[in-house]
């Protein structure tokens, strides 16, 4: 059974590049570009990992993450957060919200792939 990543990103070209990279790594990639219903989409998709942008239309990635961690069965789901704001307070806010890894745009493909591999490995081990 292939590993599934849910990519929630409203920039289509970033989403496309990430989709390409992860597909090559053997991931099944589902994408979504809206914040408002992102929580329901995550619950419905039942992914192994979520890549979540912070600035999304309708609802911010930070809020989505907070709501997600409120759900009992979503506590351990690895969430990689992408943001153009890399200041320490944003990082701290993400950590408080329960992020697994925080990555600042523009990131390198290697960084992205390494983060995804690490997060998945950690989740599989635990």
């Amino acid at each position: 059974m292939s590993r599934k990543v849910l990519l929630i990103e409203d920039e289509p070209n970033i989403a496309e590049a990430i989709r390409f990279l992860l597909t090559r790594e053997g991931w099944q990639v589902e994408t979504h570009a809206e914040g408002t219903d992102a929580l329901q989409v995550i619950q419905g998709a039942n992914p192994d990992l979520v890549i979540l942008d912070v600035m999304l239309p309708g609802k911010s990635g930070m809020e989505i993450l907070r709501d997600l961690r409120e759900l009992e069965d979503m506590q351990g789901l690895p969430v990689l957060m992408l943001t153009a704001r890399g200041q320490s307070r944003d990082r701290e806010m993400a950590e408080n919200a329960g992020v697994s890894r925080f990555m600042t745009k523009p990131f390198s493909n290697t960084e992205m792939l390494t983060a995804v591999r690490d997060l998945h490995a950690q989740a599989t081990q635990s």
Binding site: E11, N13, I14
Partner: protein, 431 residues
């Protein structure tokens, strides 16, 4: 108390020189135990012994007797460490401070000032990043850069790539490059315009204020009875800005009809400025008078005059800047402004002299008044607006009027013990 520390300084200098107590004691002809008492400030020391010890330690006697405050030495060390392209002689630091304590103090003070200003710049830059317009532009640029970086790396690093993927990525790259060029250009325009007066930032209200600023907040065409609709707004880019400007010009025209310029100037020539008396004379409300006074040609009232209008939420709807009185760009003004006090006492004219704390701490006379802007129906409360006329005062030395302390907005206000503070100030002390 200074000389009581001479012993500590001797100890410090001895250790710097790498001498043992016994060695130094021997050189100056005293016992090691006596030197130990001196070094622990348990024996007073002076005269020839200080000169001898100073000579043995190869420092000026004043370095030991007058001392160089630890903070000064520490400040000088920091200044040396922060210096770029200039290496300071650290081993001569204390000698320098001892021989030229005044200059050393000046240098330390300058360095502290630089550090303080650098911190301020840093915090202001941080604040800038939270400017919603700048943040949005930066987000656009960084997101596009992220897309370009990933896509370009895929094309460069992937040896076997399906033609349809390759074509798609080429197209995406082209699209993102165009987008990056556009967003960078608008970001640069935004930053350039931040430095120029009378700029517009793409926010309708700012366009309106820029338009009024260009005309000096005075429209001779309307003053001469012309139709405000005939004023050319074609240079304004956004429809929203044009529409808002029409509204404000409509208010201006109504005010001008109620208080014709010629009659207003005649009334002002009759006596000192008294908005309440003018309201009575022209049978208008105080808000009309305040707006009208702000529309007088530049310099007519003899001192710079500004205006701020807000709604019941405290949002600034319109402003005419006056030098020295900071008006925040995105609302969040000081709640102590008479403008907001007037909202607590609608229809009561308020006159208050204020000093706006900050870099200049300038003093202003403020007149404010809140009036019901709309009454939407029976048994429904009115929605108020408030207006404040701000006049700068040049000479307050002879004046004994009470002066209320206000700020620009909490983040840039130095009033640390203000009970109305919403959030901490970003300004370091002494800014």
């Amino acid at each position: 108390m200074r000389d009581t520390l001479t012993g500590s300084r001797i100890r410090e200098r001895r250790q710097i020189a790498g001498l043992r107590q016994a060695e130094l004691a021997r050189q100056v002809g005293i016992s090691a135990s006596y030197l130990n008492l001196i070094e622990h400030n348990r024996r007073r020391i002076g005269g020839k012994l200080v000169v001898d010890i100073a000579a043995a330690l190869m420092v000026e006697p004043s370095v030991l007797t007058q001392g160089i405050e630890a903070t000064l030495i520490s400040a000088l060390r920091e200044a040396a460490a922060d210096a770029v392209g200039q290496e300071a002689e650290l081993d001569g630091l204390e000698e320098f401070a001892g021989r030229f304590p005044g200059w050393a103090g000046v240098l330390a003070q300058m360095h502290r000032r630089v550090v303080s200003l650098e911190r301020t710049v840093e915090t202001l830059s941080d604040r800038l990043t939270h400017d919603p317009h700048l943040a949005a532009s930066m987000h656009e640029v960084l997101s596009t850069a992220a897309a370009i970086r990933s896509t370009a790396a895929i094309l460069a690093d992937t040896h076997e790539i399906e033609p349809e993927w390759r074509d798609r990525f080429h197209s995406n790259l082209h699209q993102d490059a165009e987008r990056l060029a556009e967003s960078s250009k608008s970001l640069v325009t935004y930053l350039d315009e931040s430095d120029s007066a009378g700029d517009h930032r793409g926010v309708p209200l700012e366009d309106v204020e820029a338009f009024f600023g260009t005309h000096g907040h005075h429209f001779p065409h309307i003053e001469q009875g012309g139709d405000e609709a005939e004023i050319d707004l074609s240079e304004m880019e956004s429809t929203a800005a044009r529409s808002l400007t029409r509204d404000f010009l409509g208010i201006y025209a109504a005010d001008a009809r109620a208080m014709p310029m010629e009659k207003l100037q005649a009334a002002l020539a009759d006596g000192p400025l008294d908005p309440l008396q003018l309201a009575s004379q022209f049978s208008v409300d105080v808000a009309t008078v305040l707006r009208r006074l702000a529309a007088l040609p530049d310099g007519y009232l003899g001192r710079p005059t500004g205006l701020v209008v807000c709604d019941a939420s405290g949002s600034i709807l319109f402003s005419k800047p006056v030098p020295g009185f900071a008006m925040p760009r995105f609302g969040e003004a000081c709640p102590l402004w008479p403008l907001f006090q007037a909202l607590n006492r609608p229809l009561v004219p308020i006159r208050q002299r204020v000093v706006q704390l900050g870099r200049t701490a300038a003093v202003f006379d403020c007149y404010s008044y809140a009036w019901p802007q709309t009454i939407s129906g029976y048994d429904q409360g009115p929605v108020y607006r408030s207006v404040m006329l701000v006049q700068s005062i040049e000479d307050v030395a002879q004046d004994q009027q009470a002066v209320a302390r206000v700020g620009p907005s909490c983040r840039v206000c130095p009033h640390s013990d203000c009970t109305s503070r919403r959030e901490p100030s970003i300004l370091s002390e002494g800014f």
